[in-house]
Symmetry: C2
Subunit: 276 residues, 2 copies
DNA sequence: CGTGGGGTTGATTGACCTCAACCCCCGTGG
DNA sequence: CCACGGGGGTTGAGGTCAATCAACCCCACG
């Protein structure tokens, strides 16, 4: 067996709790009336690596945003099968999206960091085929999904940007596929941590000190397609080599170059990235 | 080792031959001056499942297309690292895209069938990070990549369509990731063949008789992340169960429902699909 | 008539899974 | 107050799925 089916039924049961209500752990997703962050002064926009926007584009984005949402760690932001899902941008925090097989085997597909769109598939095609969960306390910008066609009509540059973001996601998934299909456990783990590190760097989460990635070994296992036991042993080896350090429920990356070399991964192309 | 590194160096060497020239086996990619298929009478467009287009959209698409290209089996249509890559739509035939690690391990990322865009990532972001190869003799519509922004500007509906296609690709990659990460060899093989079958059905390649998928067991192995030996044994088991039949260098799907049940795969959502 | 691609098969090896403990920590409630 | 349970992490022993190695067949092709 390829494993991945939660060690006990505890976690699956927990998941069911998530779904059973309205598909959203409401007690953990707090809608904030009004906004705290005006798009024009969005701290993300100021970061290097993001492209600059014309005034009218910014104005539209600002009107496109209806408010903010705060989600606690573990909150389900979107769930598989929901028909009319929302469209968000992650403003701060970490999240991930995943799919599960009927018997509980879970596969994490990708991670979201500040600036990433959440729910685009659902907004464009109609139905969500994956779920999204917050890895840390997160703030989301909420958009009016039904104005997407207006966005494409009146702001072609922004329409292009959304395609750009979709193409970028596709590229990340390509890398993940290569990893799952053709890398060893050790290489996969090294790739994943280097990948998350680079993404965090690109949105300024690293600064001078090292980065702490807020994931558990269960997340790593479900991303790499490994059992949790083997994941533990693999991470331990990476730690012994001085590449990472594992803390309570987070991972500190110590030597990114070493990780990238081990995985023979080149890194993502950077810069010129849009922000809706 | 997760394997995948061609059994000998023969295949890697062969690949090098592909790249060494101009990144394209020119003798196998024949540019056809002028077009044979006017967009307005494109046989694909007539198929159910494709959305209908306004006259002015069709007119633009027609002018966006500069000609056709014929590629023989094995021809490299696009190659990794190329900076100014082309944008195509596959008009007929099969193709696949893939990545390779430095030591030759190859991972097939997805397959292209008639109606699929080829080279979108490269056209949007700039650089290709994967290669594309024809699985059968294929005909491609060639587009003027540098008029993409004009497309978004003057035909927002088409811009939305391109995003739609990107989101659809993303969804397929999600499914592949789930497969590689969490399904057994048997389930993976069943999923892949059911997937290819369904895609072929959706573009009318099946009609009344059964479908023959033009792939070798090496392709299956490189898609599923398995060794070729184990792939052979797995396909043999599927054949013994009466789900498929393996022919010389193609696979006949006999019982799609059986394959889908084995992989517990629901199928892709259908219909309303655009065609650029 | 050799060579190379595609496919097939058995024997052996090994990477990774499963099972089963056990630790620490923290929140809950008797 | 302490017992209990659950999440996260760790470790060893044994089992299995899939990789590797090594043949061999068929056929097209030069």
């Amino acid at each position: 067996m390829t494993c991945g089916e939660r060690t006990g039924l505890g976690r699956v049961g927990l998941s069911n709790v998530f779904y059973s209500a309205s598909g959203c752990r409401l007690n953990l997703v707090l809608p904030t009336s009004g906004r705290r962050v005006p798009c024009e002064q969005c701290p993300l926009r100021a970061m290097p690596g993001f492209r600059s926007f014309a005034a009218n584009e910014l104005q539209f984005i600002s009107s496109f945003k209806t408010g903010e949402l705060v989600a606690e760690t573990g909150a389900t932001l979107l769930s598989e099968g929901a028909h009319s899902s929302h469209l968000y941008t992650l403003l701060s925090g970490w999240a991930f999206r995943y799919k599960v097989l009927a018997d509980g085997r879970r596969q994490i597909l990708n991670y979201m960091l500040p600036g990433d769109l959440i729910g685009l598939q659902g907004s464009i095609i109609g139905e969500m085929e994956h779920s999204v969960e917050a890895l840390s306390t997160s703030v989301l910008c909420v958009f009016q999904r039904d104005r997407l066609s207006e966005l494409f009509r009146n702001h072609p540059g922004l329409g292009f940007d959304i395609t750009w973001l979709a193409a970028r996601e596709e590229r990340m998934l390509d890398d993940h596929l290569l990893s799952l299909g053709r890398r060893t456990a050790m290489e996969r783990a090294a790739y994943l941590l280097a990948f998350l590190h680079q993404r965090a760097v690109s949105v300024g989460l690293v600064s001078d000190k090292n980065l702490f990635i807020p994931i558990t070994q269960q997340h790593v296992a479900d991303t790499l397609g490994l059992s949790i036991v083997h994941t533990n042993k693999t991470l331990r080896k990476l730690a012994e080599r001085g590449l990472i350090q594992w803390l309570d429920r987070s991972c500190e990356v110590i030597d990114v170059q070493g990780l990238m070399a081990l995985a023979e991964w080149e890194g993502l192309p950077e810069g010129g990235r849009p922000l809706i």
